[in-house]
């Protein structure tokens, strides 16, 4: 793993000098600002029983489903399409280092974008001077959730990118996978068919993977080892699949 940091550094540098990164950041922050100002309008109209942070993070899935595929779809598929991946692998760099380097850079950008949204809460505090509105439990819990779940979601995006040479296809695959993971578990958990005894293990599995339940716990200030393990093991497994899948494709190309 000697070359991992080299690749990571290179990828981050490339991201920071790329205009598309800043375009993505402007769009992301404008969109999140629009959502946050809409939420605050409700808090101005009537008292609410959850803090603004809880309401803000409840909509995490909207940017996740669209931003992550945008950030990751190019990472491996573009290298494969241009044939630069094979060239890169002729050097003493392993597939694992390439995948992890690109994953690390994508995660760095994803988390940086979310970290910037902390500025919204700072602006809110500057205007209201009310520390109560910045309830630290949901605020920190929400960002921990974003950090932990982001590990898995970005890995899914990288995996989608490893499946196709075509960026657009990789992007669509990423959207579908993340939609299935976040919204699919939500829809499945509401299915009555799962109440049948025969589906009890499946129901338990769906409840375990239910992302909105995880968010609910984190935003209440509860850290559950099972949820951490779900995201960490999901990340590891998805990255392993990306590496193995890429190796298999290179082997047969």
């Amino acid at each position: 793993m000697r070359h991992f940091l080299t690749i990571l550094g290179h990828e981050i540098r490339m991201l920071l000098v790329s205009p598309s990164t800043y375009i993505a950041a402007v769009i992301f922050l404008a969109f999140m600002g629009f959502i946050f100002s809409g939420i605050l309008a409700e808090y101005a109209a009537a008292p609410q029983e959850v803090s603004p942070a809880v309401a803000f993070f409840e909509l995490f899935w909207v940017p996740v489903i669209f931003i992550i595929p945008l950030l990751t779809m190019k990472s491996i598929s573009e290298e494969r399409r241009l044939g630069t991946l094979e060239t890169l692998l002729t050097t003493p760099i392993s597939t694992t280092e390439v995948v992890l380097g690109k994953y690390g850079a994508a995660y760095f950008l994803y988390f940086s974008l979310w970290s910037a949204t902390a500025g919204f809460f700072y602006i809110l505090h500057r205007f209201t001077h009310d520390a109560f509105l910045l309830d630290t439990g949901p605020l920190f819990g929400g960002y921990i959730f974003i950090a932990v779940s982001g590990l898995f979601f970005v890995a899914v995006g990288i995996f989608a990118s490893s499946l196709s040479r075509n960026q657009a296809v990789a992007g669509i695959l990423g959207v579908v996978m993340l939609f299935g993971l976040i919204i699919g578990t939500q829809l499945l958990s509401g299915l009555n068919a799962l109440d049948l005894e025969i589906f009890a293990p499946l129901k338990e599995g769906v409840a375990y993977a239910h992302v909105f339940t995880h968010l609910d716990d984190f935003s209440r200030g509860i850290i559950d080892a099972r949820q951490l393990l779900f995201y960490l093991s999901g990340t590891t497994l998805t990255l392993i699949f990306s590496i193995l899948g890429l190796e298999a494709k290179l082997l047969h190309s």
């Binding site: 309008a41 008292p47 602006i123 080892a225 392993i240």
Partner: protein, 503 residues
Amino acid sequence: MSDAPSNAFAKARWLRSTNLLLQAILFVTFFGGLNYLALHHGGRWDLTNHRRHTLSEETLAYLRDLEQPVRFVVTVDPNNTNDDLTQFHRDVRGLLREYVNATAGKTSASGPAGKVTFEELDIYRDQRIAQSLGIDQANVVIALANDRRKIITLPEFYETKDRVAVAFKGEQVVTSAILSVSSPDQPHVYFLAGHGEMQPGVVDAERGLSVFADQLRLRNLQVSVIDLTQNKAVPDDASLVVIAAPQGRYDPFEVELLRRYLSDRAGRVIILLPPVVRHGLDDLLYDWGLVADDVIIAEPDPAHVTERNELRIAAFWPHPITQPLIDNQFALYLGLTRVVRPDPGRPLDNSLRATVLAATSETAWGERDYRQRDGTYNPGVDLKGLAGFEPKNRLGVVVSSERITPPKNLPFSVPGGRLVLFGNADFAANAHLAAPGNLAILLNAVEWCVDRDVQLNTLPRPIERYQINLSQAELGKLRISLLFILPGLAAIFGLVVYWTRRS
């Protein structure tokens, strides 16, 4: 010969592919197993101040000893547009998840012993399931264990002040429900018969108690009828005896049976005693420090009388029976009512605690000559609330009496018998039980009598409300700041980088 190297490469390639596939299967199995183990042995940490989402040690101790699986069904529509219901749904889900997690690792050879599970049910969409579970109420939480059930309504979960929820006391309520349905003991309520009393099996609107009896059964209580003139004894398994509006006098031996049941067996009795009727229970009431005056309450103030000429009772004293009515500002609606009160001439007995639970307004009086009903207060004849007695200037309509027995040389006391006396009976009839106050006080009286009013040592969680207090202009500035400051900074960074690289 020329094909041999390419064959060797093909073989190596497929061997490597198979190896990759096996690795993939191995990793899936490993992580699947790891997560399966974690599902049953995970830890949970509450990072909030005062660990406000963590179950109390008392609750955890109960859950550790829980033998029966308990299933909670929540019938709140998560997509409703009512803010209170949305909050209720959120609070209850979060709380029940803590119970599910606390019992997640419990297993036994016979099945999920002692596990708490919860599910959500839309009773309108899933009518078949709702019917099979015997659930017909929306926006409630139902605890089920074997064939026992307990329904918990939204107001029970919250402490309210001026009709606004100020604290969530979910843990108290849910743990109490678990204890109630998982307990093998099913309290047995006997309704007295033989003197024209109102009966639990009768569906008549004015003289039937079938709605009340159904509510008792829903709360895991057995309901039976007994005629003491035939049985000659209060059954051994009686947890509570209900005397509802007798039409004639009880024989002295029946009264003696009730007296012994109350005193010797720490029995529990609820008496619904309408005015006018000669009942023969005066001696029994005297023993328990109570008196039921032969008067009818007259209320001149229209603010305390309904369109149907019913008394509207809204003065309650804090007690487990009346607390939910106080919290929710419920009122009692009573037809003809007699005055019931602690007997001023009762024997001095420190172990006896007689309390007025509900009382009239200060303007009401007890009309003694009710057959004439001249509609005026006659001083010295009619009954009026006295300033020197509690409650001041008011007349009682519901009273309770409880005997506390201090055991010899021991620092604690043991509850003896309990008796609740209502100066009215028609409020419990099918036609009048729809009023939330009427139903609540009756069910609370039953729960108090059968010791179901478990007061767990858990603090209610205060409900916090968040609001932004800004003027329209300030709010507009805030919105513009949110929409432009951060995206603008990102755009400036991007332009700087672009300009630097260009030059």
